[in-house]
Symmetry: C2
Subunit: 180 residues, 2 copies
C-alpha cells in the first residue's frame, strides 16, 4: 500500500504517449483510398484533368474559326470551367498532403462530389457535341480541306480524356458520401 | 424435469408463427425508397424512360434524311438500346410489385446499376451530339428550310428527357450499392 503511495506518478506519465499513438496511427487508414481528395492518387487525377482540359482549351482557341460553331464555343467554356475546378482541387490536395490530413468532413466531400458531377457532365456534353460536329465535317460532308479538322478532333479527344480522368474522382467521392 | 420431458413440443409449436411475423413485416422497410427497382416509383421512372426514348426513336426515324448524319444514326441506336433496357426493367418492376418483393440481392442491384450507367451515358452522349448538330443547322448555318429542324430538335429533347428519367434510377442504385 505504502509503495504505491510513494510513486503515484509512474502510471499517469507512461499512459499519455500510448493513447496519443493510438489516435495518431489511423490518420491514413484503409478508408483513404488512392484517388480520394487529399491523397497522391487524387492529386494525380486532378493534375490529369487540368492538363487535358487546358490542352483542349488551347488547341480549340488556336483555331481562327471556332466561334462560328456554337458547340465549339460551348466546349471552350466547359473545359475552361473544368480546368479552373481541377486546378483549385489540385491545390487543395497538395495542401492536404503537406499537412498529412485527408478530407473526412462529409460536407466538404459532398461539395466536391456535386462540383465534380457538374463539371464532368458539362465537359462530357461539350465533348460529345464537338465530336458530333467534327464527325459531320470530316465524314459526312468531307469538308476537311476548308476546316481545321485535326485540331478540332484533337481538342475533342482531349476533352474526352479530361472527362475520363474526372469520372474516378466523382465516383469515389459519391461512393464515400453514400457509404457514410 | 419430468414435466418438460412430457410436453416437449409446446414451445416449438408456439414459436414459429411469431418469428414468421418478425420476418414478414420488414419486407417493405424504409430502405425501399420510391424509385428503387421493385417499387412503384421505380416502375414510373422506367415507364418514363421507355416512352421518351421510344418517342425520340420514332420522331428521328420518321425523317427521311437522318441517315446522312452520323450523330443522328448514333442517336437512333442509343435510344433503341435505352428503350429495350427500360422496357425489360419495367417488366422486372411489375413482377416485383406483383410478388411484393424488392430487389435486395447486391449482385442484381450492381447489374442494374452498371446497365443504367451504360445506357444513360450512351443516351446522354447521343443527345448531346444531336443537339450540337441541330444547333449547327438551325443557328449557325440557318439551313432549316432544307432540313426537318423541328423533328430533329424534338427527337433530341426527348432523348434528353429520357436521360433525365434514367439518372435517378442510376443514382439510387449506385447509392444503394455503396451504402451496403
Amino acid at each position: 500500500m505504502s509503495m504505491s503511495m510513494v510513486h503515484p506518478s509512474v502510471h499517469p506519465i507512461e499512459a499519455p504517449p500510448l493513447t496519443d499513438h493510438a489516435i495518431a496511427i489511423p490518420r491514413h487508414s484503409l478508408k483513404d483510398t488512392q484517388g480520394m481528395p487529399g491523397t497522391l492518387g487524387g492529386f494525380i487525377l486532378r493534375f490529369l484533368q487540368f492538363s487535358f482540359s487546358l490542352l483542349s482549351l488551347s488547341l480549340m482557341a488556336s483555331t481562327s474559326d471556332f466561334p462560328s460553331v456554337t458547340a465549339f464555343r460551348y466546349l471552350v467554356a466547359a473545359v475552361s470551367l473544368q480546368s479552373v475546378w481541377s486546378l483549385s482541387l489540385a491545390v487543395a490536395d497538395v495542401y492536404a498532403i503537406l499537412v498529412r490530413r485527408g478530407y473526412r468532413n462529409s460536407r466538404i466531400v459532398s461539395l466536391f462530389s456535386i462540383g465534380d458531377g457538374i463539371t464532368s457532365t458539362l465537359t462530357f456534353s461539350a465533348a460529345c457535341a464537338s465530336a458530333g460536329i467534327t464527325v459531320l465535317i470530316g465524314n459526312d460532308l468531307n469538308d476537311c480541306a476548308q476546316n481545321h479538322c485535326s485540331k478540332f478532333e484533337t481538342a475533342t479527344a482531349m476533352a474526352f480524356m479530361s472527362w475520363f480522368a474526372a469520372s474516378p474522382s466523382f465516383i469515389l467521392n459519391f461512393w464515400t458520401l453514400a457509404s457514410k
